[in-house]
C-alpha cells in the first residue's frame, strides 16, 4: 500500500536525479535522455519545451513510472519508483498522479461520465457520480454526460480527459502536449480550465508543450535538447507558486 503523505510544501513532489534512457538498436546505442535532473515542488507549474524528438515525452513517461529508466532515480511523492512493482506504481498513479495526453486517450467504449468515473472506481469509490458530474459541468460538458468519445470533438474529449484527471485531485499532473491536437481557440479555453483546476487543487503541473505562449503561463520553463536539460530560466512569476 502506498502511504499518502500530505503535500509537504518544503519537499519536492517530484525529484529526478541523473535520469538516463537509452535504446539499443543492434550495435548502436541511442541515448534519448542523458543524465536529467529535475525537481518540482508541490503546486508548482513547470513547462517543458524543446524540439520534437528531444526526449520530453520520454521524460514524462519515466517520471510517471510508465516506463523503466536505464539509470537514475525518480522520486514521486516521496516514493522511489525504481523499487516499486508495476502494480504498486499503478496504485501510486491512481492515488497521486493525473494525466492529460496529446491524443486524449479516452476509453472509446465508455461514455464521458463513465470515463471520468474510472479513477474513482479504481479506488473502490462508488459514490463519485455527483463529483464527476459537477466536474463535467465545470468543464462545460454538463449536457454531454452520456456521449461516447467518438461523438465528441477533440476539444471536448480533452475536457473530459481534464475532468478525469481532476476527479480525484492529484498531487501532480502530467500533461503531454495537451493542446497539440487542438486549434488555438479551443486550446485557449482548455488551458484556462487546466490552470484553474490546477490552482484550486494545489496540484503540481508538468506541462510538455511546443507552444511558447502556453509555456509562459507556467512558473518555470525547462528547455530540453537532445535529451538534456538546458540551463533553466524562470518564468514571469519568478518564485515557486505558494498558495
Amino acid at each position: 500500500m502506498v502511504e499518502t503523505i500530505p503535500a509537504n510544501p518544503d519537499r519536492p513532489v517530484l525529484e529526478v536525479r541523473g535520469l538516463t534512457k537509452t535504446y539499443q538498436d543492434g550495435e548502436n546505442t541511442l541515448t534519448v535522455l542523458d543524465h536529467v535532473d529535475l525537481q518540482v515542488m508541490p503546486a508548482e507549474t513547470c513547462a517543458i519545451i524543446g524540439p520534437s524528438g528531444s526526449g520530453k515525452t520520454t521524460l514524462l513517461g519515466l517520471c510517471a513510472g510508465l516506463d523503466d529508466a536505464t539509470s537514475g532515480t525518480v522520486c514521486l511523492d516521496g516514493q522511489s519508483l525504481e523499487n516499486l512493482t508495476q502494480n504498486a506504481r499503478a496504485a501510486l498513479r491512481g492515488k497521486s498522479i493525473g494525466f492529460v495526453f496529446q491524443n486524449f486517450q479516452l476509453i472509446p467504449t465508455l461514455t464521458a461520465l463513465e470515463n471520468v468515473l474510472i479513477p474513482l472506481e479504481l479506488q473502490g469509490q462508488t459514490l463519485g457520480r455527483s463529483t464527476a458530474q459537477a466536474l463535467l459541468e465545470r468543464v462545460g460538458l454538463g449536457k454531454r454526460l452520456t456521449h461516447y468519445p467518438h461523438q465528441l470533438s477533440g476539444g471536448e474529449q480533452q475536457r473530459v480527459a481534464l475532468a478525469r484527471a481532476f476527479v480525484r485531485p492529484p498531487k501532480i499532473l502530467f500533461a503531454d502536449e495537451p493542446t497539440g491536437n487542438l486549434d488555438s481557440e479551443t486550446s485557449a479555453i482548455l488551458v484556462d480550465i487546466l490552470f484553474e483546476l490546477n490552482r484550486e487543487n494545489g496540484t503540481a503541473l508538468i506541462l510538455v508543450t511546443h507552444d511558447p505562449s502556453l509555456a509562459a503561463r507556467a512558473d518555470r520553463i525547462v528547455r530540453m535538447q537532445s535529451g538534456r536539460i538546458l540551463p533553466e530560466h524562470r518564468g514571469p512569476q519568478a518564485s515557486p507558486a505558494r498558495p
Binding site: M1, P6, N87, A90, G94, F101, I118
Partner: protein, 874 residues
Amino acid sequence: MSATVNRVEPEALPQSFLRALLHPWTWRMAWRDTRSQRSRLALYALSIAIGICALTAIYSLKSTVQEAINLQGKSLLGADLRISSRRPIPDGLLGDLAGRVRAGSRETSFSSMIGPPSGDRTKLVQVRALEGGYPFGNTVECEPQGSWERLRNTSGIVVEPSLLEEFGTSVGQTLKVGTLELPILGVVSNGVPRSNRFSGFAPEVFIRLADLPATGLAGEQSLAYHHLAVDWEASTEPERASLSSKAREALAGKSVQVQTPEDRKESIGEGLDRSKEFLGISALAALLLGGIGVAGAIHTHIQKRLPSVAVLLCLGCPSHFAFAIYFIQAAAMGLLGAVLGALAGGLAHSLVVHLAAGSLPIAVNLIPSPGILLLTAAAGFAICCAFALMPLLGIQNVSPAATLFQRPAPNPRANVLRSAVCALLAAMVWGVTLLNGAGPLRAAAITGFMVVAFACLAATAAGLIRLTRALVRPTWPYLPRQGISNLFRPHNQTLLVTLSLGLGVFLLLSTWFIRGQVLNQLKLDTSLHTPNVYLIDVQPDQADTIKSMLGRLGLPTIEDTPMVTMRIETVKGMRLSPLEAKQPAPDAQPDTQRQEVPRWVMEREYRSTYRDHLNSTETIVAGEWPPQKVDPNEAIPISVEQKLAKDLRVEIGDEIVMDVQGVPMRTRVACLRKVDWSRFNLNFFMVFPPGVLETAPQFHLMTTRVPDAASSGQLQRTLFKEIPNVSAVDLTSLLQTISKLLKKASNVIELLSAFTLFAGVPILIAAVLGGREQRVRESVLLRTLGASEQQVRTILLIEYTTLGALSATAGGGLSWIAHLAAAKWIFKAPAQFEPLPLLFAFVGCCLLSMIAGILIGRGVCSRPPLEVLRQTAS
C-alpha cells in the same frame, strides 16, 4: 485555493487475480467495454462455436460409434455375458444381479454323432440344445426365413448348410439325434456365434433344450457344457460392462467360465481398437482446431482493446484487473460459443446420423445424448478459457507507456506466464488424449509431438521474418517488395497465420493419414494364406492322404499342425482339481494368488502343439523361442500366449505342471507370445518345443482355403466319402460377419475424417482473416495515397500466398513425420507414401490464404477510404 487534502481512503481494489475476477467493478467494466463491439463479439463467439461444434459432433458420434462397436462385440458372443460350466448352471447363480437380467437363455452343448435316419452316414457334430432368445442383439440369417424362431416352440433341428450337403438331405427331411428323429427346420448361415472358438471345431446343429431328454443323450451330459447367455437390462455400454464385471466378481471362485464380448473381440483383431484410437485422435484434432479458432478470435479482439488497457494502467488500474476484465469477456464469449457450439454439434450429429444411417453399424440414436452435449459444452468452455489465455497474455505485455508512444514495452513476467500457459495447454492436451483411451506414455508422446509441432511452426515463422528481412532489396519492383515486406514489418501477421494455418494443415493432414492407416488395418486379410476351412481330428497317418486329396480338389494345404490335448495340474506348485472345493466356504480365505486365477482357466482342456518356429501371426513379447536347449530331465521350456499368462498369473521362469493325458509333465514358461487371433491361422495357447510331445497321443489340425461355398461342399462330400472321421469346419460365415463389421467401422471413420475436414476449413479461414483489420487500415492508407485497387490487391495477394505456401509446407512436413511416427509406434505397419493428400493440402492451403488475401483486398477497395479510416481510428 487548494482543496482540503482530507481524503477518506476507501477500500482499494483487491490484490489477487481471483478476487479481481469476482469484483463487481471488473464485471461492470467487462460489460461496458463490449459496447459498440457486441455484434463483432458475437461473431467471435460464432467462430468459437464452430470449433466446439466440431468437438461436440465428433465426440457425440464417437461415443455413439463406440457403443456400436461394443454392440458388434456383443454380436460375436450373442450375449452381454455368457456363463459356461461342466455342471448344470444352478438357478440363482447370479444372486442379486438376477434382477438386472432382461433375458437369459440356457444351452447345453456336447459332441455327438448324428445323421439321417437311414444310419449309413453319420458325423460328429456339436449339438447345441437351446432355450430362450439366444443370440441376443443379432439377427440370425436362416433359410427358410423364420426357421430359427420356429425352433423355439417347435421340435426340430437347424443345421449348418454344409451338413445338408454332406448328408445329401434337405429341409423338411429328418435327422436322427441320439434316439430322436427331428425334422430339419432350416439352415442357419449367419448370426449365431460359435459356442466356443477354441474348443470343438465341429459343425454345429441346434435343437430345443426341451427335446434333449428325448434324444437319450442326456446320459452323455457328463461330457456336456452348460451355458447361460445373459442380456442385461441396460441401455449403455458402460452400464452393461459394469454389470458384467460385477457378475464376474460374484462368480469368481465358482466353477464357471465367464465370457463377455470383450473376450471375443480378439477375433476381430486390433482393427477396432485402432478405430477407437482414431476416434480419439480426430476428437483431439477437432479440439485443437477449436482451440485455434478460439485463440484467433480472442487475439483479434484483445489486439483492439490494448490501447484501452494502457489507459487503464495509466489511471492506476492494477494489471491483474485489466486481465480479469478481458478474461471475463473471453469466458463469456466462450460460454456463448460453447452453448451454441454444443447445440450446433448436436444438430450436426443428427444430420450425419440421418445422412449416413445406412452405413452406420447400428440404428444410432438420431438425438445425441444430453450428457454428451453438456460434457462437451463444459469441456469446450474450459478449452476456450485455456486457449484464450495465450492471447490474453498480450495484456500482460501492455505498458502504460503505450499511451505516450505507439509501442509495447516488453514485460519479462509475460515470458514466465507464457510458459505457464503453454504448460497448462500441454497438460490439457495430455488429459484429453488420456481420456480418449491412450496410455499415459502414449498420451505424453502425442502431447510432446504437438508441442514440438507448435515450436517448429513458431520457428518457421520467425525464420521467415528473418529471411524476408534479409532478402528484400530496395531495388525490387514496388509491389513484390511491399508484399514481402509485409511479412516482417511491425504488426505483421506472419506468426499468427503460420501458427494457425500450419497447425490446421498439420492436424487435418495427420487425421487423414491416420485414417488411411486405420482403414488399412480394418481390411480383413483375405490373402491366399489365410485359411477359411479347418480340417479337424486328423490322425497322424492320415495327414498325407488328406494333403493329396486337397491337391486333387485344387485346394492348398495351408497348415498342418500336430495337436495334443492336456490339462493344467499345478501352476507354480498350486493345484486346483475340479472336484476339490466345489463351494469354498464363504468366509474361507484361500491364498489370494490362486483366488485371482479364473477357475475355468485352470480347468479347461488345452490343445497344444509343438514346433521350433513362430508363425507369421505370432510375435515374442518376452523370453525367446525356440528355446536353446531342451533337457528331458529339466522342466520343459514352453511358450505361453500372453493373455493366458496374465490369467494364470505366470511370468517367465514360472513352472506349470501339465497333465498330458495322464502323464504329468513339468514345464517352465520360457517365452510369452502375442498372437494375432484375427488371422484365422492355427494358433495355440501353449507351444512346446519339438522332441517332447511326439510320442503323446495326438491329432493333426489342417487348414485350407476354399474359394466358394460350392467347393466347400465338394470338400465336405469328398471327406465324408473318403475319410469320414475327419470333419471340415467352414469359417466363411464367421469371416463374413467380421468383414461386415470392419466395413462398417471403416465407413464411420471415413465419415468422421470428412467431418473434421469440413469443420476445420472454416475455422482456418476465420483464423487467417483474424488479422485483417491491420491490413485493411494500411491498405486504406495506401489507397488514400493513390494506390490502385489492383496494386492493393496484388500486395495482399503476395503476402498471403507466401504465408499460405509456407504454412502448408511446414504443416505438411510435420504431418508427414506424425504419419511415420504413428505407423511405427501405433500401427506397427510400414507407412505408405501418399503424395496426393500432401499436394492437395498444399494447393488447398495456398488457395485458402489467397482467398483470404483477396477478401481483405475487396474489403479495402469496395468502401471509400474516409469511411474506413474513421472507423478504424477509434
